[in-house]
Amino acid sequence: MSDSAQTPHADEVEREAADERPDEPDDESHVEPIETGADAVVSALKNAGVDHLFGVQGGAIMPVYDALYSESDMTHVTMAHEQGAVHAADAYGIVTGDPGVCMATSGPGATNLVTGIADASMDSDPLIALTGQVPTDLVGNDAFQETDTIGVTQPITKYNRFATSPDEVGDDVSTAFALADEGRQGPTLVDLPKDVTQPETDVEPGKPETPDTYNPPEKADAEAVSEAADVISDAEKPIILAGGGVIKANASDELRAFATEYDIPVMTTMPGTGAFDQTHELSMGIAGMHGTGYANMAITLTDCMLAIGTRFDDRLTGDVKTFAPDADIVHVDIDPAEISKNIEADYPLLGDAKAVLDQLSDAMTDAPDADAWREQCQTWKDEYPLDYEMPEDRPLKPQYIVEQFDEAMPDDTIVTAGVGQHQMWAWQYWTWTEPRTWVTSHGLGTMGYGFPAAIGAKLAKPDKEVIAFEGDGSFLMTSQELSVAVRENLDITIVVLNNEAVGMVRQWQDGFYEGRRMASEYPWVPEFDKLAEAYGARGFRLEDYDEVEETIEAALEYDGPAVVDAIIDPEENVYPMVPSGGDNSLFALSEDHLDEI
């Protein structure tokens, strides 16, 4: 084991401390007696160690808000829109590892949460959604602000529950916590009819506990582990593909220890970014559609892939027929349904990534004999570095702006992003060294995610620097949350990589629709620096290379939300690129290559 593997990560220490919270109910936390169903809900939240809630008030959820009125241990953050609340809570869950909580009223409040819940579901983020509901006797009657929230959210929650009794509602919320957190994390929802939260009860909620029918695996089968270890030892071209599951399982230290001990190159998926330090010589960067050329070459030519906590999303695999076609796949996952869903696993290891990496480490007999392969990987790194052209004068290159912020900010900075080209540039040109620092919408690809996520992340980790990269299109979708950032005086830097277009769409239109830019150019976006000022934040406009340094300095220095409206080259595109459903090794490095493949 390397040194770093022995020293617990700072985040981890915090997480362990947080883990203990529910087991040690604070004596003072129940000074207020439980009088109503809503009190029981609040009590369950406290038992679960919640300190922040994100939401918007409304008729059906009012009893719960009322129960929070005299509550001093928890801070409710009123957001401008429920979508802001759910993304903030989601990010809170990502950076802390514990479920974030969002609240909304029935009907439109609940439906405004839907995108964020779907987002959390795709990315296996721990999230609790509490929604108000009309009184039970009105349910089914199309009552004012009624929506079948359970029906709507069933496909996008790990578990959802319509609360039916004030005596049980506290337990319902506790169960939602346990399920959001255990095994493969995910969103859970409790729908709270007003006639459940309002009436009297004195029943204390129990501790968060999962139902009997739910028992995620811990350790993988020992025999399967030893077989897999033999296959890895015998490999000549091994790689490790680290997915988001590595981060969720807090297994980054174990991953690093394993990789360095057996000298195996490591690449990450987009959600796995930060699981492995990119400055490490074994790092093969990021894989997939806009991953590095060298990672995608190695993926295609490996003979043994240790894939950990990844669901083999199509943006990663491209055409499954050409995905690691020579490789034995050792797939570690906590969710049996992920095994052989998209790519057949030759050696499935069902269990928690942290535990299984330890098991694998113990079972390994030899390091693979892979000098030639590592040399080959190095050659690819030299041949296909991430790169862009930078003329001396205007227009600004977005990649350069990302690099400059990266240089100016500490390693443990939390970076959030919206969805589009800016997200890909942030992903590619930031140097990722730590887990839980890359917060974006991976699976669902939700525009507008980045900025509210930055709010949640900052409130969760006030001591860390937080920067949000947004596109002009993405920022337009949730920029009203500036009111919240200003009210809470959050020290966040928002960088709008402004190309006056929904650039990623424009890029695809240019590449695959003969340049017909239907509905993708946005020459009417506001001046985002002025928009920021209107809300009471600081605004900067960045147009020239010689302003970059001082603007970055000023924005970072400003103690509060600062928006940098960076006017970038509107024609800049994201490369490398594997066209949708393509062969990963046939990535294009420019338009010219697109014609070739």
Binding site: A337, S340, E344, S585
Partner: protein, 215 residues
């Protein structure tokens, strides 16, 4: 920015030798192996609570499993219900259906039933009543029962496996069938075997190899 030129273009890059099929399974590079779909009878024991049926059927439709029938009813234990789900899928599809089903919180156990399990369907057929004797003879032949007989219509019920029911319906066609309702399969494991027994493979390893998987 490094100012380096890109390396070899797409055409000049190293190529792997292998290939997978569309299910992500490694195959002979020359062949494009495809799995043929087969019928699988899944039995799930679930918590008997509101919304479970919707959850299960929602899962099957959103994951595009090819569902033939789904029946549900209570068990000896009043808090539990049993669902019999017949699907037609390729081997990976059947595996995936079992695993996804198993993931639902109210689902207690999932099991694929062997070919020798007891599988029965009920059909109610309403035919024209002009030839009551002939209708009766066919009903007898298939071990069915007459539920209602009037001057213009005769309604019968038949239970059995799919083949028997298909044959009976064929035989009734001569009279003119007015209406039909079929329940879909209800099934139990044969003999001492427990239908709800959770196969250890389903829970603990990825790729449970139930006997039926090999065909």
């Amino acid at each position: 920015m490094t100012g380096k030129l890109p390396g070899p273009g797409p055409g000049e890059r190293m190529r792997p030798e292998g290939r997978r099929n569309e299910d992500g399974i490694r195959i002979d590079p020359e062949a494009e192996a495809k799995h043929e779909p087969r019928r699988a009878v899944l039995s799930a024991l679930v918590e008997h609570e509101p919304g479970v049926l919707a959850e299960v059927s929602g899962l099957f439709s959103r994951r595009q499993f090819n569902i033939e029938s789904l029946t549900v009813g209570t068990t000896v234990d009043e808090s539990r219900a049993r669902m019999t789900i017949v699907i037609e899928e390729t081997r990976p599809g059947i595996q995936q259906a079992k695993k996804q089903l198993r993931k639902l919180i109210p689902v207690v156990s999932v099991r694929e039933l062997d070919h020798d399990s007891i599988q029965r369907e009920l059909v109610i057929v309403k035919v024209n009543g002009e030839e009551p004797d002939k209708v009766h003879a066919i009903t007898e032949m298939y071990g069915g029962e007459t539920l209602d007989a009037g001057p213009r219509t005769i309604t019968v019920e038949i239970t059995g496996n799919e083949q028997k029911i298909d044959d009976a319906i064929d035989a009734y066609k001569q009279f003119g069938i007015r209406e039909i309702v079929r329940t879909g399969y209800a099934a139990l494991a044969r003999g001492e075997q427990q239908t709800a027994e959770v196969e250890p493979e389903v829970k603990l390893t990825a790729d449970s190899q139930t006997p039926a998987d090999d065909d």
